[in-house]
């Protein structure tokens, strides 16, 4: 009975979404205020029913109701309770329900926080969100319900959650990612509402910006955690594979990053309006495309997800409606959009415009590399794969002008600049970065390739330029504390974001260039040396977890005969799926990670082990966290806070 209640709650939520889609849009069209006023309550109601339904899914998972197909397939009675909760989004149907939870929560938030918007705009934003809600709820109810029963024959025991997903990273990664993914639907709705209204003024940009910022910050954090999870859990020591599923989240991120920068220009200077709208539409469309890629099974990926052509077809049709509809609307309305600001070549506008170009080109490259194998196959040209080297090569080329620009752009002013005084500063920064990079690399490594040097120098250059600009802006103020206060949170956000990117670039470069690995077969007592560390294999011991058993290879790590740490690299065998899992042992550090994975048992008590030394790898996630922090910090900005307060009184 309880699962049916969960399903029924979704039906009600869907009915409310349908009303949310129709009433306000109709009201805005005919100027009927009463219809428009229904929007916020419908949004809240829809959200409550979805949350209720999700609560039921959690409840039936926790109570091991294996009559429900979803629970039987993705959970088991021996699964620890927190992984039971995780299992509610570990499979396709649950993940889509999580999407609905996020979608309706964003909708409800917009309903609550948009009180100072004019009713026509507010109604349209919520109406568009309602439309998206209908699309996904229809999908859930029709072909992806997590409440389907397995009656009359149901298993006594579930099939357990995929062991790979039994990891703390997997508890937080999907919700964060979806939060960001779905959050971009808010920017999308604002863009569509603004197009419908025909008024693309600064107010629209001002409104859209904080929402986009938060969604983007979540997306950043989600991707970062996903990369960390892959590194910690998959046991191959990698952090990014350019897999279609990974690319599916990277593409919206790249476009959303472009959108943020473009929104800043639109808000402050009133230019790039139509471009910004197009980016907002594109960002969310890429989220839908990503969902299609991940869920349809049309593209071969190492990640396994439930795949089903019918579902793929639905998502593709929905994608076509959303993209086609919004592009048609865009085409019809864009001629009315005028940008009034004027600017010269050497200006922040142009710099940000270039930033957008680079990000969009990067997106196109990822899109091409992801979709080309599929197109190639559909054309009957055979199956191909486009591997990691392609993406690495393209991004290595693209990052050079991008990073150079990133060091220059923040110092440029709006409208126009004289370049000569700045050029001197840039030359100093270039010289400083080259010297610092040389000192850093040559003191640590014997061999430094030109490519490594250049990429590291770019990271250092971003760091120097950002910090020197910060110091200069502070020094313009009466005192340091005054400077800190005056600069404004958006500026601080920019500093954080750029510094974060510098960390990421440095990490990617150095860890790719200087990571070393050894695969060895060791007997107890054997010592393997890698870089300045000695790894002594002390044998294996049996382990037993709540739903797995296995072996842990005990390895003592020494440096100059002194104990560094003792590591336990586990090989688990999960009871239900009888699936082997490597649980890597990691000694993390600011400058290096020692990473160990246990392989197979060989003859005479020997085990194969893989040992990695990964310099600076942690900077990648540090950088990712800094970048997402930049997004969250903007929320605290007075400009946005004041408006929320004003909105609350109105």
């Amino acid at each position: 009975m309880i699962p049916e209640i969960g399903y029924f709650a979704l039906v009600l939520a869907m009915a409310l979404s349908l009303l949310l889609c129709i009433f306000p849009l109709w009201g805005a069209y005919t100027g009927n205020l009463r219809l428009m006023r229904a929007a916020p309550s419908l949004a809240l109601g829809q959200c409550l029913f979805v949350l209720f339904s999700f609560g039921i899914l959690i409840y039936i998972t926790l109570t091991d109701d294996f009559t429900v197909a979803y629970v039987a397939h993705h959970s088991s009675s021996t699964l620890p309770w927190y992984y039971k909760v995780t299992s509610t989004w570990g499979g396709h149907e649950g993940a889509i329900l999580l999407w609905l939870v996020m979608q309706s929560s964003w909708t409800a938030l917009v309903a609550l926080m948009s009180k100072s918007l004019p009713w026509v705009l507010r109604a349209r934003v919520l109406g568009v969100l309602g439309f998206l809600g209908v699309g996904f709820m229809l999908y859930t109810l029709w072909m992806s319900s997590p409440f389907e029963r397995l009656l009359p024959y149901f298993p006594v025991e579930g099939r357990d959650l995929n062991p790979l997903l039994q990891d703390p990273g997997m508890i937080i990664h999907p919700p964060l990612l979806y939060m960001g993914y779905v959050g971009l639907s808010v920017s999308f709705s604002f863009a569509i509402a603004a197009l419908l209204t025909g008024k693309l003024d600064n107010t629209w940009a001002k409104w859209s910006r904080p929402w986009t910022m938060v969604a983007w910050a979540f997306l950043t954090l989600g991707i970062t955690i996903g990369s960390w999870w892959a590194y910690a859990e998959l046991g191959w020591g990698g952090w990014w594979f350019w897999d279609p599923v990974e690319n599916a989240s990277l593409m919206p991120w790249l476009v959303a990053t472009a959108l943020l920068h473009s929104l800043a220009v639109t808000e402050k200077r009133g230019v790039f309006k139509s471009w910004t709208v197009l980016l907002a539409i594109t960002a969310f469309s890429l989220c839908l495309l990503g969902t299609f890629i991940v869920r349809s099974g049309i593209i071969v990926s190492v990640h396994a997800f439930a795949t089903d052509p019918d579902r793929g077809l639905y998502i593709l049709s929905f994608l076509a409606v959303v993209v086609g509809g919004s592009l048609a609307l865009y085409a019809a309305r864009v001629s009315q959009v005028h940008s009034e600001g004027r600017y010269r070549f050497a200006s922040r506008e142009v710099a940000l415009w270039l930033n957008n170009i680079f990000l969009v080109v990067a997106t196109l490259i990822v899109l091409l590399g992801t979709l080309l194998p599929m197109i190639h196959k559909e054309l009957g040209l055979g199956s191909i794969s486009i591997g990691v080297p392609f993406f690495n090569q393209m991004f290595a080329i693209l990052i050079v002008p991008f990073a150079l620009l990133l060091g220059i752009a923040p110092m440029l002013r709006w409208k126009q600049n004289k370049l000569s005084p700045l050029a001197k500063k840039w030359l100093v920064n270039v010289a400083l970065s080259l010297v610092a990079t040389a000192a850093w690399l040559f003191s640590n490594y014997e061999q430094v390739s030109a490519l490594t040097f250049m990429a590291t120098a770019l990271a250092v250059w971003i760091m120097f330029s950002t910090v020197s600009d910060l110091l200069q802006k502070i020094s313009l103020q009466a005192s340091i504390s005054e400077g800190f206060k005056r600069l404004g949170l958006s500026y601080w956000a920019m500093v954080l974001g750029h510094v974060g990117l510098a960390f990421v670039i440095a990490s990617v470069t150095l860890t790719s260039a200087y990571s070393v690995e050894r695969a060895v077969a060791m007997k107890p007592g054997d010592i393997a040396t890698l870089n300045e560390y000695q790894y002594r294999f002390d044998g294996v011991k049996e382990i037993r977890g709540p739903n797995y058993s296995g072996h842990a290879g005990v390895v003592t790590v020494l440096k100059d005969d002194e104990l560094v740490t003792e590591l336990y690299a586990e090989k688990r065998l999960y009871d239900i799926g009888m699936q082997f899992m490597t649980e890597a042992a990691i000694d993390d550090g600011f400058f290096r990670d020692l990473y160990l994975a246990l392989g197979e048992q060989m003859s005479q008590g020997a085990w194969s082990l893989r040992i990695y030394h990964k310099p600076y790898v942690r900077w990648m996630w540090l950088g990712g966290i800094l970048i997402s922090l930049a997004g969250f910090i903007v929320l605290a900005d007075k400009r946005y806070r004041r408006r929320v307060k004003k909105g609350a009184q109105a």
């Binding site: 190492v302 080109v361 191909i384 080297p389 695969a519 899992m581 994975a597 197979e600 060989m602 194969s608």
Partner: protein
């Protein structure tokens, strides 16, 4: 030309230049980095209407099922050798290192590597999918007719 037009022209040229160079670079990079995918029978019998076979030294991807009982591990090093099959011929894969957790006999895998003999590949990467029920879709397609076509080799005995 008035300044507005001039700016527009500049914008358009910049966009064309940007996209053009991006496309050019992409195609160049693609040329080097596209790996053709083969199944064991395609590798041995040739692929497509022209029955093209890869040349020795070529980088490629191959997908198939690991023949049960074919996995041979070296006792002292991490060298491992196994055979892949789809509908007919067998292809030998040599690999040095630790195989993925989901690698099992009878399981579909994808290997990436260099062809060193007409039917021997030295792999630098072996992939098994996250899910235990996974069979690479390319393999699934290749073995579609397997029930109607009697395998030329007996899977359970050594060949």
């Amino acid at each position: 030309m008035n300044p507005r037009r001039k700016k527009r022209l500049f914008t358009v040229l910049a966009v064309i230049f940007g996209i053009g160079s991006a496309v050019g670079l992409t195609l160049y990079a693609l040329q080097e980095n596209i790996n053709l995918f083969y199944t064991p029978s395609e590798l041995v019998n040739g692929k497509g209407p022209e029955l093209e076979k890869p040349t020795i030294g070529q980088k490629l991807r191959i997908g198939g099922m690991v023949v049960p009982g074919s996995v041979v591990r070296d006792e002292t090093s991490l060298d491992v050798e196994f055979q892949l099959i789809d509908t007919g011929p067998l292809v030998t894969i040599r690999y040095q290192g630790i195989l993925p957790d989901l690698f099992r006999e009878g399981q579909g895998i994808v290997a990436q590597g260099t062809l060193i003999e007409p039917n021997v590949i030295e792999a630098f990467e072996v992939l098994a999918k996250h899910d235990e029920e996974y069979m690479p879709s390319e393999v699934a397609e290749a073995v579609k007719g397997i029930k109607h076509e009697k395998p030329k080799y007996n899977l359970n005995s050594e060949n």
